[in-house]
Each structure stands twice: as C-alpha cells, then as structure tokens.
Symmetry: C3
C-alpha cells in the first residue's frame, strides 16, 4: 500500500450514512453528533448498559471514550464491544487523558486489549497506553507525534489495532496487510492550530473514524485490513481538509468551530485529495 483513495472512501461514507453508536463523554456529545451529521454520518449516543448491546447490533461503527464515564457508560462499553465482536462491527477506542488518573486508566487499558479496530489519541495518550510517557493532563498532549512513533508501532502490534496519533501531522499506523512482518504508516498534514482550542475536536475525530470504518463493506476478505486502514486515514484527511477550509475564514475558536462544521459538510473529493498524505511501510522495531 502506497496510496489511499480518499475520494472513494469519502463517497462511500456519504452514500452509506453509517450509523455510529457513541459511548462518549458528556462534554463533547453535542459537538461529536454535529460533526457526524455534518460529515455525512448518523450519530446515536446510546450509552446505557440496558440497551448498548442491542443497539450495537444495529450500528455500523462504535466509539468508546471514557472522558466522563459513569458506571453506566463503563458497562455499556463492555456490552457494546462484546456485541461488536460477534458481528465484526468496527469500534474505535479513544483513550482520552489516559494516565492522568487511575479510575479510567484501568478501564482504558482493559479495552485496549479487547480487540478495538482502531485506537485514536494524542501523542501523550498513545505513548502512555504503550507503556511510555507520563500520560495526559486533561485533553492536552505534551508529547510530540514524531517522538512516539515507535511506541505507537509497538501498540499496533500488541493490540492488533490501527493506531492513530493526532497532532500537527497525524500518524496512522497498522500492520501491513500485504506483509504482516512490517508496519504501514501514513502521515496526514493539515488542520489548524485553532483546533485544540475547540473542545471535542479530538473526540469527534474518533467518532468520524468509527463512521468511516462503519462504511467499509464487511465481506471483502483479504482486503479488509487494507480498507480499514484507508478508512482511518480518510477520516483524518476529511478532518484536515475541513480544518484548513475553516481556517481560511476564522481567526478565533468560536467562529472556527462553526466554520469547521460547515466545512465538514461542504468539502469535496478534490479537497480531500489535495491534503498532503504520505504512506510508507516500515520495519517493526522490536
């Protein structure tokens, strides 16, 4: 794999309108739902254990984020991801502020070993989950993406998940479907420095990743891993393209958030194709 057909994945996602079940923190529920709607997906924030598994069987993709997790959400995540495993429904783990405090850390670490399709976080969270780094303080990242690429690669091998690290230049790392002895790594440049000043941009990128994964046909056999990797990359490209469009008209975080939602809706295949994406295969470092 040397390129990703982001235009095709955008078109497929918008045509499918994937239903995404979000078990996510209450701070970003509204923004995440609006991101999904604007981008072309369908959100459903069902996060109670009493209906999480049942709804997971209807959903095309699932997001788990324990930012403000109650006991209900912790139980709902177990129920939904267990149901997802039965049907190979893709699910994304967002290890928001992993390492900051013990309570969520225990549950995030457990879920990371429970077969997520993708784990998306910032550099600090991914490094912490890989066993390195000091962990986050809230939703900020204190490590740089470049500095933790080896950790991210190790996490990809350990968990079997596609690892996505958000930053000024995102990194998406997975096992190479054409050569399991190697890793494939994409880098996506773009976005805007205003994005970290809007709460929920990272969390909603994880939600959009679940949407793109949910739009990949489930019956493709050997190419599935490759298509899932490309879906994760395209979610990040969609975000980067929208961030750049929004930054052309907005200079402060309030208006940026509005312009960003607009841009998620209006960006075209050409806008996504224009984003700087590199894909390379790399040796496993351990």
């Amino acid at each position: 794999m040397t390129t990703v057909d982001v235009a095709a994945h955008l078109t497929t996602m918008r045509a499918q309108v994937p239903l995404v079940q979000c078990i996510t923190n209450t701070v970003v529920q509204q923004f995440s739902a609006n991101v999904l709607l604007a981008a072309g997906a369908s959100p459903a924030m069902l996060d109670h254990e009493a209906d999480a598994a049942q709804f997971a069987r209807l959903a095309n993709g699932i997001l788990v984020n324990f930012g403000t997790a109650t006991s209900h959400q912790l139980l709902a995540a177990d129920a939904a991801t267990a149901a997802a495993a039965e049907s190979d429904t893709p699910w994304v783990l967002d290890p928001v502020s992993f390492g900051g405090v013990d309570h969520r850390t225990v549950h995030i670490r457990r879920l990371a070993q429970s077969g997520p399709t993708c784990i998306r976080g910032n550099a600090s969270e991914i490094a912490g989950l890989a066993g390195a780094g000091a962990g986050g303080r809230g939703i900020e990242s204190t490590d740089e993406v470049d500095a933790i690429l080896d950790h991210a690669g190790r996490l990809a091998i350990d968990t079997g998940a596609i690892i996505a690290v958000s930053g000024p230049r995102d990194a998406i790392i997975g096992t190479d479907p054409e050569d399991p002895g190697r890793l494939v790594r994409a880098r996506v440049a773009g976005g805007s420095p205003l994005m970290p000043l809007v709460v929920g941009t990272g969390c909603s990128l994880a939600a959009l990743t679940a949407a793109y994964l949910g739009a990949v046909p489930a019956d493709q056999g050997p190419d599935l891993a490759g298509d899932r990797f490309a879906a994760v990359v395209t979610a990040h490209v969609h975000f980067a393209a929208a961030g750049e469009v929004a930054a052309r008209t907005a200079e402060a975080p309030g208006s940026f958030a509005v312009a960003f939602l607009d841009a998620l809706h209006t960006v075209s295949e050409d806008d996504l194709t224009a984003v700087d994406v590199t894909v390379e295969t790399v040796e496993r470092t351990h």
Copy 2:
C-alpha cells in the same frame, strides 16, 4: 377551529417567559436550553428524582425525552409528570428513537399512556408508538409524515394527547374541542433541509412546545383544549419561521445552527403569520 392565532400565542409566550423543566438527553441539553432562551422562554434542566417533583410544581411546562436516560432521569420523569398531573401542568413526551431498542421503548410506551399533553416525534417514532412501523434508528426518520397520519390520529385518540409529527410538512393532530367525535389536524410547512443536520432540532422543538403550552392560561375552561392545540401549532410555526429565516443566510449546518438561534429570537408576529398553516377537521378513521 379553522385558524390559529399564532401572533397572539407568540406574544403571550414571550410575555410570560414560561419556565420549562427539561428532563432530556445530555446530547441536546445545551442546544435545547439555548433554543428556549432565544425563543423567549426560561429553561431548567433539573433531571434528578430528588428534586424533579418539587421543581415540577414551579414549572409552567415539562419536557420528557429519554434519549440518554439514566435511572435518575427515568425516576425524575415519573416524579415530575405525577406532580404535573396534580396541577394540570402541561407536559410533552418526545419518544426519541422509539422502537430502536427495548430499554427506552418500555418507558416511552408507559409514559405515553400516562396523560401527556402532547407527544412530539418524527414519523417513524409516532408510527411505532401507535403500533405500526419499524421504529427509528437513532434520531432519523424513515417514514414520511403523510404516510402515517392515520396512525397519528389513532394515537391521539388512544392517549388523549395532541400528536405532533415533525417532517418537511409537520402535522399536529388532536381531538376537536368543538366535536369530540372528530379530529382537528393542522399542517405546517417550512423549515429547512439543514435542520436534520443539526443535532437537537427535533428535541428542542419538543421543549419549545412545552414552553408554548406553559404560557396558556390554566383557567380558561372549555377553550383550554383549543388553546393548547393552538399553542402546539404555534411552537411548530415559530420553528418553521426561524428555519426559513436562517436558511436565507446559511448554507451549511454549523452556520445554520447559529442563524437559527438568532432567528428564533428575532422573528416577529408577522414572520409567524407568513408561515403556511392549514387547519381542518377530519373524521375519525376507526
């Protein structure tokens, strides 16, 4: 009844600043509160069983929506609606995503039979609650309003509630106060195709309906049913007018949501009067 004096109901609602207790899902709490404030009402999102009944005695109208209901919200709704019944305080049930999963469906069905003043949902939810249709997947509607008018009429008779069905052309159906053997049905055209791309538009329309109902004087005797029907219609007209104003300047969902809140605040009696509303009486079909 052949017309609705929407200008008078708008003026009354804004003069009363009705206090609306919202027991609603966490995804849309912020947007619903902003809709109520912009339109002229006063929101209070008290949703804990420990103070729900006490606060319901202070409120002018109540909304119940179980989109992300916890045990607290389920108990709070029972407490608040029981208190509302004692004082004939109007309350609105929003059967959000009825039929999708069992947990909420049980509670929605039970509350629908507990004397709501109004039930407001999309076509899929209303049809499902009336015993037909497949129910919703998340907040999307898959049935058309026109196709489920008979179901909505039956639900009006079965529950005694005014039934409001949201769609491109809303339908509001209730027992004719001048002839209980007939139904009265209003249709409200307007709004914008961008509204379903902003999370919480339907949920906040239900909140605004509770506000308009809360502004109807409680001591009017025989005209009360008619005024309550007109209040529900006016809430929908207010939404439609604001949606049309917003659509004149906004072409994507982020800026539409902002313009919509602005328009809820700035629309005048003339704007509401300009909305296309038809009212007719229809035979009961069973």
Copy 3:
C-alpha cells in the same frame, strides 16, 4: 487596595494555562470548556468520585456547580474539595439555582461552609445562600445586585470566601487583606444584555474564575488574599470586555455566543484595562 492590575493577571493566566477541574452541570460542560480554552486555560471535566480527588491534586483550580448533579458529582465534589484543602488549591462554588429545590440546596449550603475560595452566583442565589430572598427559579435572577450587597458582605464574612455577584454591574466582595475588620468591594460594569440569553455564561464565568485563581502563585504569603481577590475581579473583567466586544458585531444570542468565544480569545490587556472597575473598602454592617 484601590486598584486591580487586570493586565498583569490576564498575562499571568494565559502564561500559566491553568488546569481547571470542572464538576459542573451537563448542560454547560461544552460551553464552559470552550470558554476556558478560548480564554487561555485548560479544562478537564472529571466528575466521578473514583478519580475526582486524584485529579484535584493535579489541577490548579476547581469548580463545583450542582446544576444537574448526580450522586457521582456530589461525591466527586466532596472528594475534590477535600483534596484541594490539603494543598490550598483554590476552588469556586457556583450555587446555581440555590433555593429552588431542596435536594441541591442542602449540598450547596454544606459546601459553602467548607472553605470555598470564591462563591459566584447571581443576586438571587447569593441572597438565598446568605439567608435572605426567595431563591432562584432555574438560572434566572430576580433580585438586583445593588439590593443584596449587604447580604453578600455577610456571606463573605460567614464563609471566608470571596463573594462574586453577577449582574449588569457585577460586585466582588471579600475581607480586606489589609484590614480584616473591613470589606473590600469591587464593581465591574460591562458585558451585554444578550449574555443571559446564552446558557452557561454564568456557569462558565465561575469556571474562568477558578482559572484565574489557579494562576495565582501559591507561595506569596501575606499578599495571597489580595491576589486572589484581584484574580476574581480580573475574571469578571475578562468576561465584561469580551461581552462588549461581542456585542459590537452580534445582535442575537446565536451569533453572540460565537463572537463571545472569539472575543475571550482575542481581547488584549488594553481591552481589559478599558473596563470600568471601581474598588472601595466598606464597613462591615454587622
């Protein structure tokens, strides 16, 4: 104390990027986080008892607001404020809608006597907490700031907290650090009549107050009380300045909220210095 160096406090706060733990109602979590990010602080909405105390040891300031408090939030507030007391970490109590219903009133009254650095509310809430007035209905204030200044002063003496009363002309009242027998009182004019039409403006002002308090160095000894008073004043001045900037371009609540977030980010030291602030010492009235 006759003046407050608001420019210095703004510069310090933005340089420190204080980490603010918010245990606050779900209606305003998103807006409060965006206010903190736009103003220059770092939000973290951890509100579960299982990690509240541990995170409080990492935080620079803490906010407690029981607007939609669950049992988790009530326990989290006890844990976080107990941890804060050990390290003299400042914390702010927002007695939102105190007096409306018993459940929250009990907990708010108890926390008000547990050593908050600051209590920030509207006139009705502060008067109610001081033992006067009818309490609030939702988040609206029915008493005027001027009418309850004596009550606020008494509450400052009774609790040892800096009392901030929000209104058209805010009042901030504390024990005079230079003469404990007197009170010092600041008044801050500004803002916009549109602010009460955006949900969460009051709640997020309390969050920003915690941010400014969290940016005051902890090891200043005798000047600490004075600096904390000035920090609370500066938070209100920052809000007032941003409100005035926003009101220059926005005429309705939707666009005002966007412009307000923008202005929190873009206002300069000069903008804050231009706000009308008076500081005077007053006799204790009892």
